[in-house]
């Protein structure tokens, strides 16, 4: 072991106990002795109490975990999480953990999709509409401001339903929605390039769809580095799509090693986990 560490951590230890004589050290501390009966020192060790209730709609994590299933169901319904509730034929809650997580996660999440659009500025909504090739549906007033905000939001929500059908159709005909990579590598090979071109064609033919590229890494190496590596993989796919001027419709995210396809510490799992996933919306 490193000599230095040994020295650092045990210089006093060795000098006192290798000779089995610690009286020298002791004499130093005898000065500290206070012979009176009163406490010679006081220490404030008051426990700081965990407070989190504000965050989670009036519930602390512990409180939520102690609620009955029926109480949880009631809260979930109140929070608009009804769709998530899974009951068995006897009406018992099947996914208690998931419901607790959803209640906690919902505390800060932005509302539903249309609420999310509703919270955006006119400029932001127009930007989204233009990115989705819906420029002709924007109506300006005489000052050049958005005149049909409500209709445009409705059209955007409607268009995402229409895109969904297109995306499903493409899923049935395309070979691949996942590209794989070598260890610590972001290179796009020829086969991968062909796959990306297929996706580029789909996007060009369907201007209303947007693409989310999710980069992933295998478990080897450190988590934060892998987060960066996963993003670089997705970015190199985006770079190819950029050649088709599709940059504006591509969103890149990375999950690093946090979301593996296969668990296990072996070459097979690692190969499957070093990937970029295509996800349209």
């Amino acid at each position: 072991m490193s000599k230095k560490i040994l020295l650092l951590s045990s210089v006093i230890f060795l000098s006192s106990c290798a000779t089995t004589n610690i009286s020298e050290l002791g004499d130093k501390f005898l000065d500290l002795i206070n012979p009176s009966d009163a406490a010679s020192e006081s220490a404030d060790l008051r426990e700081e109490v965990l407070v989190l209730s504000d965050e989670n709609g009036g519930f602390s994590i512990d409180e939520l975990e102690q609620l009955t299933n029926d109480e949880l169901i009631a809260i979930a319904k109140e929070k608009g999480l009804e769709d998530l509730i899974l009951l068995d034929s006897d009406g018992n809650l099947q996914n208690r953990d998931q419901i607790i997580n959803a209640i906690l996660d919902s505390a800060e999440l932005l509302e539903s999709k249309s609420d999310e659009l509703g919270s955006l500025s006119d400029d932001a909504i127009m930007e989204i509409a233009m990115a989705k090739g819906m420029e002709d549906q924007i109506i300006y007033d005489e000052d050049g401001n958005l005149a049909n905000r409500e209709e445009l939001i409705e059209a955007l929500v409607g268009s995402s339903a229409a895109s969904e059908a297109l995306i499903n159709e493409f899923k049935n005909t395309s070979d691949s929605f996942v590209l794989y990579f070598a260890y610590d590598d972001t290179e796009i090979d020829e086969a991968a390039t062909r796959t990306i071109i297929q996706h580029a064609n789909f996007m060009q033919n369907n201007p209303s769809v947007s693409l989310r590229l999710e980069g992933h890494a295998d478990e080897r190496g450190t988590r934060e580095y892998n987060l960066a590596l996963g993003e670089n993989r997705a970015l190199s796919v985006k770079e190819v799509l950029g050649l088709y001027n599709l940059d504006d419709r591509v969103l890149v995210v990375s999950y690093g090693e946090e979301s593996p396809i296969l668990t296990g510490s072996n070459e097979e799992a690692w190969e499957k986990n070093r990937r970029v996933e295509f996800s349209y919306y």
Binding site: M1, S2, I5, L8, S9, S10, I12, F13, T20, I22, S23, G26, D27, F29, L30, L32, I33, A39, S40, E41, A43, D44, L45, R46, E47, E48, V49, L50, L52, D54, E55, I61, D62, Q94, N95, R96, D97, Q98, I100, N101, A102, L104, D105, E108, L109, R220, G221, T222, R223, E224, Y225, L227, A228, L229, E231, N232, V253, E258, G264, S265
Partner: protein, 426 residues
Amino acid sequence: MKHLKYFLLLCSLASFSANALLEVNIIKSKEVAFPIIIAPFEMIGEFDKPVDLAGIIRDNLNRSGQFDARSTDQLVNDSIDFEFFKELKKDAIVFGKIRQITANVYHGEIYVFDILTQKSLYKKKIEFTTGGLRRIAHALSDKIYYVLLGQKGSFDTRLSFVTVTENQSGGKTYKLQISDSDAFNVQTVVRSSYPILSPAWSKDQKRLAYVSFKNNRSEVFVIHPFLKTRTIKLPKFDGIASSPAWHPNGESIALTISKNGNKDIYLYNFKSKTLKRLTKNISIDTEANFSPNGKSLAFTSNRTGQVQVYIKNLKSGKISRATFEGSYNAKPVFSPNGKDLALIHRVGKDYRLALLDISSRDLTIMTQNKSDESPYFSPNGGMIIYSTNRDNKGILSIISLHNNQIVELMQKEGEVREPSWSNYSK
């Protein structure tokens, strides 16, 4: 490169129930530890449930690797049978009493004697204002450590970590948890269906920064676990944020931000709400960590094509490479004296905890594991906590830098990972 020689002995497998979620596994080294006796404490007052105060202290001291602390059947008070303990080859004896005065106030007395010279090394009466006996045990452990070794202990401190369990319905539950330094008194601070990473304590121990994917991308949040305030989400930077690292002054935090895809390290100031760029390179720069004096910043970068550790002098702006052995060195953290870095070093196909002497560049590999991650020093520099795998399951490991003794902490179900050690409480 120097490899460690191991003489490991699987010593005990103790499993705790009740208020600890983690089981403990000690792999002892044969190197000498200080043989001492810690006699059961006399407890005066009405206690809800019996607390083995001396037992908590013994476990603390033994975990440090510096001590071989045992109990005794002998009743120890003012008269000590020194010859008896000398026969047992013990060097020192500790005993004491705790008297409850009010619900939150206790008076403690503690005595430490050198068995060979029969001299008193320390005696003290201390008034504790507290919510729990465990805190008293940790504070007393720090005192005993200081009396016998002349160094600060790391016992009255906290850990943070992330646990991951599978749900009945197939998904996962991620919990950001905090505990005492002995992994008891576990409390959940954040719970989510989405991954949580990189929890980091601010130096004053009042704030925890962490990365959450709850909005489907990595973002940095700051939580005050002991104050009734909202979680702070750092402003939406133009790019993905990750890898938070507190500046020791607590006023700012280093982050990795991916602007236009280029991952560099930035410093976010909470007061001025401004962002200052600390690295500027087309490659990946991430995993920042400040030196204890705040004057330099260690980080991981693949700027040469290999993953290596660099240190930036924040005054001169000069960046120099710190690691030269091997093709992968990452996730550096400074030791409390600023002289060493703990980091993850690749050996063949394995990723192992290693210790780098910054000035001599001497690298020491500390384990024989396959996938160590996330090292962090105890505040006295005597131990490193890190995560690793046992039987395909994530666990935490604490290694003593005195004798390489390893203590393993695990969950009965699920994984535990991403450990971080707080500074001293006050």
